[in-house]
Symmetry: C2
Subunit: 144 residues, 2 copies
């Protein structure tokens, strides 16, 4: 369900490459993807697109509020389609799994801290790092 209107509404011309990127973000199993993930997945699906175009599309989507960029530690930025409300992330240091959460108390405290320090708060990043308990996580201490 990739609507050209989504792009039009965001003030972006509806082009084939942009629609492909948007569609992939909508349908991919993983919500958090690097530019190269997207480039690779599109090529695997037989779609022609340049890497520079993927980067440009993502930057524009971000500016339009369609997409959020995260700089988890380590090289590449990851992008996710803006679906629901704000949330933060916890990342497994072994398998890279990303879980999402929202904590009202933390958000309140952040606002209070900014106020106390004399800042007009714009946004924040918060990422927790740890070891997940996935059955297939390589960091798992193999017990039954």
């Amino acid at each position: 369900m990739h609507q050209p209107e989504h792009l039009k509404n965001a003030g972006l011309k509806s082009t084939l490459p942009r629609l492909k990127v948007l569609e992939l973000l909508e349908n991919a199993q993983d919500r958090h993807l690097t530019a190269e993930d997207i480039y690779r997945k599109l090529h695997e699906a037989g779609e022609e697109i340049g890497l520079a175009t993927v980067y440009r599309a993502l930057t524009q989507f971000e500016a339009a509020g369609l997409v959020t960029r995260h700089n988890f530690e380590g090289g590449q930025a990851v992008f996710e389609l803006e679906r629901g409300p704000h949330h933060d992330h916890i990342v497994c240091v072994h398998c890279g799994r990303v879980d999402e959460f929202y904590d009202k108390i933390i958000e309140e405290r952040q606002r209070a801290i900014a106020k106390k320090l004399g800042f007009k708060l714009h946004e924040h990043t918060m990422t927790l790092y740890g070891e997940c308990s996935g059955r297939d996580c390589p960091g798992r201490k193999n017990k039954g």
Copy 2:
């Protein structure tokens, strides 16, 4: 007060370049510096040192727990000497000013969230971004 013992205790050989970097981190007015900040300040002070050596020293200090690396948004990583207990940061989007804070409630919530999601928490990053109220901040709405 740059003690060779600090390096020795950290398992690092006491060399002149490392002592210079450590001394600068101890004495610089700004607690949060990029590798190039350090390189530049040392050269301005007439000290000979290679940029690669600055990067290597910082990476080793980090591994030894003497220094913490932060990836605030935008290009360069910043480093700070590990002095007291853990804290997080709030950064002014206009002037780059960095303030530090610690919030016990947030830290507690983070632990609870990780537990609920089945993660063994290792660490976290939290950075707030906003507009500071410094007299000389360029983003300041000039009112008396």
